[in-house]
Structure formats: structure tokens, C-alpha cells
Symmetry: C2
Subunit: 337 residues, 2 copies
């Protein structure tokens, strides 16, 4: 068993559970013999789904959990009370060392709270951020934090920069990743109180490649590899990607349907366009890791289909094999110098 | 002279000054006989530009100003020292009651500082916000504040909501405009400290149509008419519009150029597409008004061409004729009830 990366998958989380979750887990298992998935949730339903597929039985285990945490439930209460839920059970698999990683499309709040309370923080990490990959013209960038810690302090942002750098370098293979702090102007004296306090700390940080302030308009063009901001701003950035992207693509489609001439044109451009726009689809990157925990906790979109679950599970292999948490531990401790 | 709305136009501000600024001012004058423009800046250069056009001489006046405030200059210092600059002179025209409104494509900082220091706030207004119109699927929405007041307090946001409502109702003709506060979730208990404190104040505000929290992803779809947020977040929203929009349109164009088939299609869809996307162009709406000043101060994009200057000048007519400042005064005073 030691040869596998063990991933606990919340089979009951998200809009398409358990069908798409189980499907994605099996797709991951069928794509890599380095991984074993532990599906937590209502045994009967999971086994029912599993019976549809062919796979190596050694790579899949079902862990029964009778309860489900709903998205709307207050997360702290849910984690405390629903001990037999698919989320809590999956998180304990990581805490107890049975699994290396956790993947859920369920309640973000419960995953964030449970990650901290059950899995626990790496020693020295003050606030574990949620860090999704977002598409850019040059590939992708890591957005830290996009929703875990509102009202963050400067020292938190410095740790986000360090952990994000480790992730982009070791998981995504970006050498000496460029770190930028989101600001409302490129000049050093601009910004709100948080950014003004954080800027000199990042500037004096020897173990990151800090390129200074970046304006939000420069994020999609790929100016920085690690985008540091507090959670409220990060969440707005992520949601604006979805909102502006969705509306614009809708407008493009509408525009193409206005005349007979444009309708014919639309048929001709469609295949090429589909390919290019795919590179700009947020969901292709799998889930968002929560950095700085004793284990890997990955949150995927509530609307995740099997492909996103598969990518998230496969992402856990690189993360674990690259020893990311050990590297984060080392980088965070260097802070004391 | 009393029949004109008098608009001071900074002829030296922006990337395309004075050529496009003077051109835009003349276009406004030739479109409306309700407006008179006062062009501030280097007399000789302005007259040189003016000599290119035919227009009613009674509607244009040149006010000589020998200095220019550069975009990179620290604004407080610039306003204090460059008394003979095109920006300071134009602002004094408003302060002294010669003009009703001010339009500049120059330094945002100098306009914001000068607006407060020279033109001055309406009694009772704590912080005048910068409030651009942004495109949505349903038309447009007002984003308050997008850059004037970092580290705002809850009482400021409540005033933003009131002033924004007056603007959308009286200038844009939206009956009972829907006011939303930008948040990281739709539930009332979500948000950072600022939003949590502001939410109940907005909820209990009798003279606005508060619809609660809106997530950034719902802004482009047009869920709210007045979008309330503090300046840092507002600036990120505005810049994400530009950044995601620009990158996506670039990707669409690239996608259309990948194969012979798609190139032919592109030729066919182009005219229809251009029309649809025009409705999503930030610059068509003219400038962003700074609300709550004793007079109207409008900041347009640094890259403004004549059409944006023209639209900004024409926008001043509605603003002035609709007595917006009187309405803002009344709404702000109601706060005490």
C-alpha cells in the first residue's frame, strides 16, 4: 500500500454527487497506478455507482459515512456535529495518516474549517489560504488567497507569497516564479493600509521573486505567476473571471447569430474557437489546494464533473510526490531569519 | 450665458491631449447648443487646434494655464504647487461658480484631490466616491467607489449607495434602482468586517432599494444597478473588466485565425460581432463622475479619444439640468432620521 498516493474523495459533495464524483475517481485510478482512492459516503449509493465500471479493485476503497453536510449549513457547527459525514470522515483519513490528500466538491466552508480544525496547520503557518490556478495568456497563475481568510494581516500575505512560490515551482514547474501583490496602481506608495504594510515585507523577503504591485488588469495577461491578495479581493478576482468571461462569450455567441452571413461564419469558426477558449476555462485546472496544512486538502467547484474530479485526484500525486509540505515547512521557518 | 451648462475641460490631460480633447469638446458643442466649454491649458496650442474646426464661437472659451500636472506626480503636492496648471484652473472655474462641471482625462490623483480640496464636498457628504458606469448584459450599472477612498468605513458605503441611487435614477432613468453590496457569498452572515457592519445599515436604509449581497460574478449579468464596494475592491472589479475582456477578445481573434476555414468564418462574423461587442466597451459611457461635490467633476480614461470627451461633456448637461447635487443633498440629509 505504501507505493500508492492515497486520496480521500468526498463522494457525496457537489451538485453532481455521487455519480460524477465516483466516475472521476475511477477515471483517475484507470489513468494512474500510483493512486488509491478512498470514497467516503453512503456505501450503498457508492457501490451502486462503482458497479458500472471496470477498475483495479486494489486501488479503490469505500468508507461508509451516513451523513451529508449541505452547502448552506454553517460550517463550524456542521463539522462539530456531523461526525459521520462524508467530509468529516474524509478529513480524518488525512489526519490519521491513512490518506495523503483530500478532494471534495462539497461545502467550501466545511472544507476550509475542517481542513484547519481536523487536518491541522503545518507548524508556523498562520493562515492556510485557498489557492486556485487561474488561466492567463501565458498559461496559468496561482491566486492566493481566494476565500479562506477575510481580514488578513500583512504577515499572512507574506506566507501566502512563500507557499504560492513553492507550489508554482514544484507542482507547476515554473522556475523562480514571479510574485506580485494586487494593488490599485503600480507605484509603491499606492494601496490600502494592508498593501502598504505588506509591500516592504515582500520586498525584503529573500526567498521569493517579488516583482512588486500588479493591477488587476494585468492578471489575465500573465504578468505574475503567484498573485498575492487577501481573500475578499481574491474572491472578487476569481468571480470576475467567471462573470466577465461568461457574459462576453454569451455576447460573442449572440453576435454571431444576428445575421445569416454571421451564422454561416459561426459554423466555420466554431471548432477553432472552441479549442482556443478551452485554454481559458477555469474548470480544466482541477481543484484549488488549501496550502499549509498537514496533508493536502483540495476543493473543487460545486458543479464539478468527472473530469475535474479526475484532474484534482491526479494533482494530488504530484503534490505528494514532490514533498510540497516539507518544502513549505522549510520556507516558512526561514521567515525567522 | 445663463442658458448654457458651462463645462471646464482640461485640454492638456491624458495621452491624446490636446488634439483629441479639443476635438471632443468641439464635437459636444456642435451636437448641443445647451453647453459652453471652457478649455484650460496652453493657449497657443489650444487655439492652434481650435483653428481646425467650425463651431459657434460663443460656446467656446479658452482659459490660459501655463503648467501641466503629469500623471506620475504626487497629487497633493501637484495641486498645491501648480496653481497655473490646466487642472487647477479648471477646478477653480467650478469652485468660483463660472462652470457647473469639470472634465479631465489627466491625473486621476490630482482630479480626486483637487475635487475635494478646491471644489469641496456637499455639506454632509463624508467621502466623495468615483463612480464609473460599467456595461452589463442589461445595459449598465454604477460602480461606487472605484478608486477614491481606500480603507472606507461603513457610513461611507451607505452614502455611496444613496448617491449612486440618485445618479442611476435621475441621470440614467432607472426607476427605483437596485442596490447591491459586493460580497464573497450571497448569505447575510458572509463577508469581511466592513461588509458585515455595512449590511444591516443598508438593510435599514428606507430610501434605497437594497437587494442584499451580490457576488462579483453577478455584476456583468446586471443583477444590480448600483454596486456598492470600497475603492480597492471597486478598482479591482473595473480592472478585471478590462483585463479579462481584453484577453478573451484577443483569444477569440487568435482562435479565428488558426485555420483557413476559421479565417473565412471570421470575415463573415466580423461586422455582426463588432456591433455586439461595442455594447460591452467600457469607454463608450464617457467618464466617471465623482459624486458628492459642489459641482460635477468627471474623470475620463487617460487614453480618451474625442468620442469619450464628447460623451463626458454631454453627460454634464443631464447631470446639471437634473439638479443631481440638490437631490444628493436631500438624500444625504435624510440620513439623520
Amino acid at each position: 500500500m505504501a507505493e500508492y498516493v492515497n486520496v480521500a474523495v468526498d463522494a457525496m459533495g457537489g451538485d453532481n454527487a455521487p455519480v460524477e464524483i465516483v466516475k472521476g475517481a475511477i477515471e483517475a485510478v484507470n489513468e494512474s497506478d500510483h493512486v488509491k482512492v478512498f470514497l467516503t459516503g453512503q456505501e450503498e449509493q457508492i457501490n451502486n455507482e462503482l458497479s458500472k465500471y471496470t477498475y483495479n479493485k486494489e486501488q479503490v476503497e469505500v468508507v461508509n459515512a451516513t451523513e451529508v453536510i449541505e452547502t448552506a449549513e454553517p460550517p463550524v457547527m456542521a463539522i462539530r456535529r456531523k461526525k459521520d459525514s462524508s467530509i468529516v470522515k474524509a478529513l480524518y483519513l488525512v489526519k490519521d495518516g491513512v490518506c495523503d490528500a483530500y478532494v471534495s466538491a462539497g461545502s467550501t466552508g466545511a472544507t476550509l474549517v475542517g481542513g484547519q480544525v481536523i487536518v491541522g496547520r503545518i507548524k508556523g503557518v498562520e493562515r492556510p489560504p485557498l489557492a486556485p490556478l487561474i488561466p492567463t495568456e501565458k498559461g496559468c497563475a496561482l491566486l492566493v488567497d481566494c476565500g479562506a481568510n477575510v481580514d488578513a494581516r500583512p504577515s499572512h500575505l507574506v506566507q501566502f507569497a512563500k507557499m504560492g512560490s513553492v507550489y508554482m515551482e514544484s507542482v507547476m514547474g515554473v522556475k523562480n516564479p514571479k510574485v506580485g501583490i494586487v494593488n490599485i496602481g503600480a507605484e509603491e506608495e499606492k494601496g490600502n493600509a494592508l498593501v502598504k504594510e505588506t509591500f516592504p515585507l515582500l520586498k525584503n523577503c529573500p526567498d521569493i521573486n517579488f516583482i512588486g504591485s500588479i493591477e488587476a488588469r494585468d492578471i489575465p495577461s500573465g504578468l505574475a505567476d503567484v498573485i498575492v491578495c487577501e481573500a475578499f479581493v481574491g474572491n472578487v478576482i476569481l468571480k470576475m473571471y467567471e462573470g466577465v468571461g461568461g457574459t462576453l462569450i454569451k455576447k460573442v455567441k449572440e453576435g454571431m447569430m444576428t445575421t445569416l452571413r454571421s451564422k454561416i461564419g459561426a459554423l466555420l469558426v466554431k471548432p477553432a474557437l472552441k479549442n482556443t477558449l478551452k485554454a481559458f476555462d477555469l474548470e480544466q485546472y482541477g481543484g484549488a489546494p488549501m496550502l499549509g496544512l498537514n496533508g493536502l486538502v483540495v476543493k473543487t467547484h460545486g458543479s464539478s464533473k468527472s473530469v475535474e474530479i479526475k484532474n484534482s485526484v491526479l494533482q494530488c500525486i504530484t503534490f505528494t510526490e514532490q514533498n510540497i509540505n516539507q518544502k513549505i515547512k522549510e520556507k516558512i521557518t526561514m521567515e525567522e531569519n
